[in-house]
């Protein structure tokens, strides 16, 4: 068993989406968080907001002293969809995501989260799978040029039918079989599907390069203590498989959004009491 320590934790601006991005950065500093996963949303950081938002973001992050460990463009609510039947939607999405990969590289961050897209539920699964796979393979070409890996993230069945459990995840990862296509495990869809984190590590091993540690009842992206998940069970799976990369606290439920820092602080305090001490 290896250790899982506080310096592996990362914050993300998802819960702070209704605050300014500067407020989020200041809040992370106040809370003692050193690493951030940039959630690409408007008006924090998105190509919808100006011709080139990267210089401002880079300056803000540089001034904060925080380290960007992952890029996560909004992929489930905005008009983007790598598995869309409509070619223009897929093409627009792929081009937009390439810009986020370029931005990640400029921030010296070498991974971007990638969700599977949302095929129509009343059309053949195989068709949606093929559209999604084609989009991912186009993005992987860009991965080789930018050295930004894609971290494929499982969703809940309510978000997408394409990848909502371990078998679905492995289907895409194994079909494409590219070193730049890696996996982000999120405890919310894992728990919602009635699965275990340990099963993901047993099957996917070192393909798992990122982790979202969030409570849920069974879902909801809750802060730890508000849901019904067992944080120690998750952490023990990480220890058992010697996971040494970053862990994002993706607390995001709307009920916390009027007082984001308060709930983020409570979440961090809870997690710290379950993590190991730094060496």
């Amino acid at each position: 068993m290896s250790k899982i320590v506080p310096s592996q934790l990362a914050g993300t601006n998802m819960l702070y989406a209704q605050y300014s991005f500067q407020y989020f950065l200041d809040s992370m500093q106040r809370l003692g968080v050193q690493n951030i996963e940039v959630y690409g949303c408007s008006p924090h950081f998105h190509f919808y907001d100006c011709e080139n938002p990267v210089p401002t973001l880079r300056r803000q992050i540089h001034d904060s002293g925080l380290k960007v460990i992952s890029m996560m463009p909004e992929e489930n609510t905005y008009p983007v969809n790598i598995a869309a039947k409509e070619k223009r939607v897929r093409d627009n999405t792929v081009e937009l995501y390439k810009r986020f990969m370029d931005a990640a590289a400029e921030l010296d961050c070498h991974q971007m989260l990638l969700c599977p897209g949302r095929p129509y539920r009343n059309e053949p699964f195989s068709v949606g799978f093929a559209y999604s796979r084609d989009s991912i393979e186009r993005l992987l070409e860009h991965s080789r040029q930018t050295d930004v890996a894609l971290c494929y993230e499982t969703l809940r069945i309510g978000e997408s039918i394409l990848t909502s459990n371990l078998e679905d995840t492995c289907r895409m990862i194994e079909a494409i079989n590219d070193p730049y296509l890696q996996v982000c495990v999120d405890t919310v869809p894992v728990y919602a599907a009635g699965e275990k984190v340990e099963s993901y590590f047993a099957r996917l091993g070192s393909k798992i390069t990122h982790f979202h540690l969030v409570d849920g009842a069974p879902d909801g992206h809750l802060m730890w203590g508000d849901g019904t998940q067992n944080v120690d069970e998750h952490l023990d799976a990480l220890r058992k498989y010697h996971y040494s990369r970053y862990i994002t606290m993706e607390t995001a439920a709307s009920k916390y959004r009027m007082d984001a820092e308060k709930y983020y602080a409570m979440n961090i305090a809870y997690l710290r009491s379950h993590l190991d001490a730094e060496d």
Partner: protein, 280 residues
């Protein structure tokens, strides 16, 4: 007073993950004649087309409606709940393109024959309470009202928003103030029964406060559930029927994951309306 089914629309939101043809087939099979089209990608969205493709898609949508003998009295383009539009943004780039997209949606509403279009009032950051943001929201809504004025029968409606998303219209009192400050005859209120209960408000209070400024009602059972699945729908519909409200109403099912299997809650809600005498 009864609520005739000819006044009841169904919001298409639960069918977001389905083709629009499937959505309309299902709605028509339930017996609806009217839809409130919640427009988002890939069914219909500002971001998805060239100008020519957009015109083609609009014609396609009208043909799909006509083939099923359906109408679209209410057009509800997604703006600020899920999408990154903000007509009150301090950033000119964001505000300008948000305004342009909403103007185009106003044109779309007229094309679709809608009498009502749902308008999001914009938002500000929680850590920036500068009153200029509210002033910009008012000015932007007034400008959109003027633009919509070219379509004589079209009304823009604003509903209550959750406080975490929009401080400008987060309860009845603030919505009423916003409408008063905008002061345009073609900008009115939408009562959302779920937001109303969240804010501990009542239909009586709404009608007393808003009165003739009410142009649309979004209704569902507790937590935006299927009618009959909660505790609120029976009382809300009875109060609305007794109130003398003669406008249009939309069944607005939005509970978590309703998009997984939308047919059943819509069908069950129609059955509830029939059982309770509202499907006349």
């Amino acid at each position: 007073m009864k609520i005739e089914n000819s006044r009841i629309n169904v919001v298409t939101y639960p069918y977001w993950h389905y083709t629009f043809a499937y959505c309309l087939d299902s709605i028509a099979a339930c017996g609806f004649r009217n839809i409130e089209f919640w427009a988002a990608s890939p069914q219909y969205c500002y971001a998805d087309y060239t100008a020519k493709e957009r015109e083609n898609r609009k014609r396609e949508i009208m043909e799909m409606l006509c083939r099923r003998n359906l109408a679209m009295p209410v057009f509800h383009p997604e703006q600020s709940n899920m999408y990154p539009l903000n007509i009150a943004s301090p950033e000119k780039y964001i505000r300008d393109h948000s305004m342009q997209y909403v103007r185009e949606y106003i044109d779309d509403a007229a094309f679709f024959g809608s009498k009502v279009m749902v308008l999001a009032p914009g938002r500000r950051d929680h850590d920036d309470e500068n009153p200029d943001h509210y002033k910009r929201a008012v000015e932007s809504i007034q400008a959109l009202s003027e633009y919509a004025g070219q379509y004589k029968d079209l009304t823009l409606v604003i509903e209550e928003w959750p406080a975490y998303l929009c401080a400008f219209a987060d309860n009845l009192q603030n919505l009423k103030k916003l409408l008063a400050d905008v002061n345009c005859a073609n900008v009115k209120a939408c009562l959302n029964t779920c937001s109303m209960h969240d804010n501990q408000e009542t239909i009586a209070a709404w009608l007393q406060s808003i009165g003739d400024e009410l142009a649309l009602v979004h209704f569902a059972d507790t937590g935006a559930q299927t009618l009959g699945a909660g505790q609120d729908a029976a009382g809300d519909l009875a109060a609305l029927a007794d109130s003398g409200y003669e406008g249009t109403l939309s069944l607005n099912i939005q509970f978590r994951d309703c998009c997984v299997a939308p047919d059943k809650p819509v069908f069950a809600s129609v059955a509830w309306l029939k059982r309770n005498g509202y499907w006349v």
